[in-house]
Assembly symmetry: C2
Homo-oligomer: 429 residues x 2
């Protein structure tokens, strides 16, 4: 824990710096995986699954029967919890699907934007110690709401050679029926270029390890869109003297347990709060099953004391955290000044883990300072907004002369001619 009292403004850029993870050393091996998948398709996928997951996968596509039978393997209380979360995610993401009205810009000139779903999207869900079924909901539900025709999901097999049933259940609940048992950079390559079994998609979503992240970056430059640039998870908590230190400590630790590279920041205007939160962390940390991970991450955490809440939020805006928890007596006053973050948790009961699972907001958010320029995943992420314009003969009469003058001034005579030829035909009628 690095504690800094009243950091002067000129030190903020340094405090905001995230650890640089250089993945360039991975590039050669990831490129090799991508190359092999493009060249050999399913054969390469089977070989990489054997090599990395130690599983001789007979077939890549998960059978409908297997998906169906997963339902009964999910405990009742977990199933109910997932259904509640799915309903909230659905409500909030459905509200984002907004139809826009046409706009008449000049008489006879009508412009509009139409929401058109991406045709084919691919979701990646990593394997590893914890089955991230919540991310299935966060990606599959907006895809369904947007109306994507094809939504596929790739996830690696567990040690038992199977996909965790909670992932299968969450996928089925969210309307996904096409699930492929393949992970890592090879899964990204398969979705980017297609194989005999796995279809090529237009956009790839989802978290992953360094290989997956690097693969997403590489395929992005060859025409496949990706959700967001990736980075370790982050939380910044703004707390004043009204905050319960045990709540603040719990929120910081819930971020810290994600991984040793998680970024945890407390910004407060009260020195006593700062000290109490640190004490609380020590006592809560010991009881956590993932305390080794959380402790490592807490080593790099920042505990910052500022003169006032205004400075706290100014610092937060410069830091641009993925998650921002505002635990102050008048949280909306602070919230109103927020400029750069992924998602904001307003008030004492709004813990960050609520947004991770069940409040309804999306948990796929910009990290690493990208919140300055990127939004988190939303229904918009699965939609293109195509513009349309219809110009009548009256319309081209109204704006045609302006187009002619401007095209000529840009030296584009053929652009002008496309108008002239139409105006002439109208005059001749």
């Amino acid at each position: 824990m690095k504690t800094i009292l009243y950091p002067p403004g000129e030190t903020w850029p340094t405090l905001c710096r995230r650890p640089v993870s250089d993945t360039s050393s991975l590039t050669a091996s990831v490129n090799d995986i991508i190359y092999r998948v493009r060249a050999e398709g399913d054969k390469a996928l089977r070989e990489f699954t054997l090599k990395f997951d130690k599983i001789a996968a007979a077939g890549l596509k998960v059978s409908e029967r297997e998906i169906e039978s997963a339902v009964s393997l999910v405990p009742d209380d977990l199933r109910k919890a997932i259904i509640l979360a799915a309903e909230n995610i659905e409500k909030f993401h459905r509200s984002q699907l907004i139809k826009e009205e046409p706009v008449i810009t000049s008489a006879g000139v009508t412009c509009m934007r139409k929401n058109v779903p991406l045709e084919k999207v691919g979701l990646y869900i990593p394997g590893g110690s914890a089955p991230l079924f919540s991310t299935v909901l966060m990606l599959a539900i907006p895809a369904k709401i947007a109306g994507c025709e094809k939504v596929i999901l790739c996830t690696p097999p567990g040690k038992d050679g199977k996909i965790n049933p909670v992932i299968l259940y969450s996928a089925r609940l969210s309307g996904i029926t096409e699930i492929y048992m393949v992970g890592g950079a090879q899964a990204i390559a398969a979705m980017a270029y297609g194989t005999e079994t796995i279809p090529r998609v237009d956009k790839i979503f989802g978290p992953g390890n360094q290989f997956v992240t690097r693969a997403k970056e590489i395929v992005q430059s060859s025409g496949v869109a990706i959700d967001l640039p990736a980075g370790p998870s982050e939380v910044l908590v703004i707390a004043d003297s009204s905050a319960d230190p045990s709540f603040v400590a719990a929120d910081l630790l819930s971020q810290a347990e994600h991984g040793p590279d998680s970024q945890v920041v407390l910004a407060t205007d009260n020195e006593k709060t700062l000290r109490s939160v640190k004490d609380e962390i020590k006592s809560q940390l010991d009881k956590l099953p993932r305390k080794d991970i959380a402790a490592k991450s807490m080593n790099n955490s920042l505990f910052l004391l500022f003169n006032n809440l205004q400075d706290c939020v100014s610092f937060s805006n410069e830091y641009a955290p993925e998650h921002l928890v505002i635990n102050t007596s008048e949280p909306w006053t602070v919230a109103g000044q927020v400029k750069n973050t992924g998602s904001v948790f307003v008030g004492r009961y709004s813990c960050e883990s609520a947004g991770d699972y069940a409040s309804g907001t999306n948990h796929t958010l910009p990290t690493n300072g990208y919140a300055r320029s990127y939004s988190g995943v939303s229904t918009d992420s699965f939609i293109k907004k195509i513009t349309f314009q219809e110009i009548s003969s009256e319309g081209i009469r109204n704006i045609g002369p302006a187009i002619q003058v401007m095209a000529e001034a840009e030296g584009l005579e053929a652009h002008k001619n496309a108008v002239s030829i139409r105006l002439k035909s109208i005059d001749n009628v």
Copy 2:
């Protein structure tokens, strides 16, 4: 002109392929420019401007006096045309600024999204033969509507060592007062990392040559967002027997004159239309000042005859053109089936050049098949949508148990604890 009658479906992917422009050979020199600008700031900018633009620029920032005096240098009719275009662009882009209502997902759980402008954006306007003042409007007006605090513009000097007055005038009209005379990869590097004079921005917009494009790709991977991946401009025209061949020819040629690598495609269900359009092109081409460029681009153009309009639009959806002109007797029937494109021009009088300048839609659009997954620039491009959630004690009672169960199932005990500690405190009250 490549004419293909009834291309079978299996040939479509090949027909949809764009020429691959390999810019990897530029990488070393672009990286060198970026490195020098990061290390030496303004000094490097002055050196590169001397080297590439042959101008010994005394200062980089354009003075207010110079911007003001540009007004009188713009001819009256051009000024009026620009004002009309700006008004239409403003109307349409202002309609895109939609405030969303809060959503109560569970009792006591309120979620909302708020539009927050990007703080600092940088616009790049290339120099070259034609001054692209229309692009100034297309980028600066949405930035102003979004409410960006700082909007800067970089553009190289002309041969006379000055910036074209129409660019200065368009910038001033759109509310930009911070203009820097610097072009190329060095301008992109300056906006990405900042120099003594030029501020660092959060997102970079605008077209450019291969150096600029490569520089945008490189800086994107280090935390600066960019508008869109770049590629040569494209149009696909769907025409039936009702279309005036001279209109269609004019639209195809207006695309062709952009550059020798422009992509021009006609899809029709009528062989006579196909032949007439080709004849028209020959006769119109000869009169164009940029006929050499247009002729080169026409060499690679595709003239495709299909069995019916349904096939035309299916092909277009696979091609995913930047611009789609629908010149048929019932254009909205065709328009309703459009899935992948940047902007659609509906009906005989809706020429593509209208969207380039004055209809109100944006002309910064996805090329190279990116229309499958990207939208064009809009007011959204200058906005982040930050999510907020407020959870009351009732709210955490309602969704808390679900969060606890899900967090435990994902092996994230500290996430669970952030809820447990709150529920316990409520019970104790």
